[in-house]
């Protein structure tokens, strides 16, 4: 009797095992469209270099940039830290202290002839909303100083320069030995992927914001006699206001005096941080205008990561560095005054930027959740993880300034639902639906529809 029970038990277990094996689907072949191929290249392709990928610096989990907080979470053998682990790159490839403390990356934009002394230290720009951020009447502006790409200078060509600068095994930088250059097809796919990231179009201000302070901040932002922000950041994007700069001006560069800020964090360390002269060699002091919808959760700010908070970034335009800059002087001469905002007004503009950033986080989260519903389980898990990160960004951005507590609560509900959906496939659809509902409630707290 006991032996018959044992045999039956074993048979049942065997059948269950066989059933589980039969039900485990092999992963489908990867999608073969340009965006999907570009995504794989962006995050997986090392181009036979030092182990870095594009995603080593442009992290999907960190809004396609890299903050000091995120850097602190990385293991010591992450390819980002190749200068600390590869003796061939130990001197003159990165500054580990500035990377870890301020999220700064070394660039040799003035040439490679004197690596110990000629370089710039810059923050990593995010790669979001590039479809509406790089075009200008004078040609595409890529990177912080608008001249980031070799070849024809387009976003498509950017990856070639990035591989040469950041992926090399040694300072010889010999193609075919220290790295391989992206092929034409790979450049096409990378461009398609990069253009797919984030917002696909600019906002249409003014938005019907429900928060009192953020709504006032939006007014100040748009007011050509007060904040004047909209002149260069039209609709909170990266493009110039056509009413000011003419139709089709697109993305512009300015010398706003950021390099003249006193007490820049990197300078306080005593490390060698040569002046950054911006566009061209020698540079003209100009830097590219970034979009500000994405600003609040992608600090530190400006090309040199010199200001940590969004309130500080707004307040910059009150200070001497900006108002005595070429851009500031011209603005003052043309309008009768520089940008003069008192404390409450700075906070209001920052609140506006926080709210529109949170709205973008919500939009992106919904996009991730939508995709997770139809994706292969591995892909779905990734998208849920990113959705959780985006929701967390929205929470931090709003709560960091005491904005929209009810909306923050709804976002917390959404985050919990997403985390639960990510943790188990059971009732995943229901949990995603719960998250979507909570996100919609949060959005309704921020803006009227």
């Amino acid at each position: 009797m006991a032996s018959r029970f044992r045999i039956s038990f074993v048979a049942v277990v065997l059948q269950l095992v066989l059933l589980a094996v039969a039900c485990r689907r092999p992963p489908p072949p990867p999608p073969d469209d340009p965006i999907s191929r570009g995504e794989r290249l962006f995050f997986e392709e090392t181009f036979d270099g030092n182990g870095r990928t594009c995603g080593s610096c442009h992290r999907a989990e960190d809004n396609f940039t890299l903050s000091p907080a995120f850097i602190a979470s990385l293991p010591p053998d992450d390819p980002l830290f190749i200068a600390e682990t590869n003796p061939d790159l130990a001197q003159g490839f990165e500054n580990p202290r500035l990377m870890r403390e301020f999220g700064m990356i070394l660039e040799n934009l003035d040439g490679f002839a004197d690596l110990p002394n000629v370089f710039t230290m810059r923050g990593i720009p995010h790669t979001l909303a590039q479809g509406s951020s790089v075009a200008s009447a004078a040609g595409p502006r890529t990177g912080w100083s608008g001249d980031g790409a070799p070849g024809d200078g387009t976003l498509r060509s950017f990856a070639t320069g990035a591989v040469i600068q950041h992926f090399t095994r040694t300072f010889a930088r010999v193609p075919g030995q220290d790295f391989r250059l992206p092929t034409e097809e790979e450049l096409d796919d990378l461009e398609a992927f990069m253009l797919s990231l984030g917002r696909q179009q600019d906002l249409a201000l003014p938005l019907p914001l429900r928060g009192t302070v953020a709504a006032r901040g939006q007014q100040i932002f748009i007011d050509p006699t007060l904040g004047k922000c909209n002149a260069c950041h039209s609709n909170a994007g990266a493009n110039a206001d056509p009413a000011v700069f003419g139709p089709g001006a697109g993305n512009l560069s300015f010398n706003t005096g950021v390099e003249n800020l006193p007490d820049q964090p990197a300078d306080l360390t005593g490390e060698l941080v040569p002046p950054d002269d911006g566009f061209g060699v020698p540079g003209n002091g100009e830097f590219n205008t970034p979009p500000v919808v994405e600003a609040a959760d992608t600090g530190p700010f400006f090309h040199n990561n010199s200001i940590e908070t969004i309130e500080g970034a707004v307040a910059f335009y009150n200070g001497a560095a900006f108002n005595e800059s070429p851009a500031g002087i011209l603005l003052r001469n043309a309008t009768g005054s520089g940008i003069v905002l008192d404390g409450t007004q700075v906070v209001a503009v920052a609140a506006f930027l926080r709210v529109i950033n949170a709205l973008e986080n919500i939009r992106q989260t919904l996009a991730y959740l939508d995709e997770s519903g139809t994706a292969h389980p591995d892909r779905a898990a990734r998208q849920l993880r990113l959705a959780a990160e985006e929701t967390n960004d929205a929470i931090e951005v709003l709560a960091g300034a005491g904005l929209h507590p009810a909306g923050v609560r709804h976002l917390g509900v959404a985050k919990d639902a997403i985390d639960n959906a990510a943790a188990s496939t059971g009732r995943r659809t229901v949990r995603i639906d719960d998250a979507v509902a909570a996100l919609e409630q949060a959005r309704a707290d921020l803006v009227s529809t």
């Binding site: 004078a138 070849g151 024809d152 387009t154 320069g161 040469i164 000011v244 011209l330 603005l331």
Partner: protein, 122 residues
Amino acid sequence: MSRYLILALCALGCAVPLHAQRTTEQFIPIGRSPGVSGTAAAVIGTIEAVDAAQRTLRIAGPQGPVTIAFTDTTDVWIDRSAQRQSALVGSPSDLVAGRRAEVKFVDPARPEIADWIKIEGS
């Protein structure tokens, strides 16, 4: 805003025609410059003659020989990738007849002036 502001701000931010980054361009071998090589923006061929006094070179391109001027702002790089060696910053004195070269024009519509020249290393 006033017309003055429009014009002046434009002068600040608009007037300078953009150009691509040149520092990493140095390390891109002849024929591999993205969006440039194989287009009307550049010509690849063998240098037939160099006139140092006139500051011109004649290059035998696929459409026939073309004479191009170089200026003080023309970058010259020596492509040594075939020798598995690092590219070097060169000068007009490195432009030698018989060498393979790639020339990018300042203006593709007027292929008369070189923006940069890559010459194959010996």
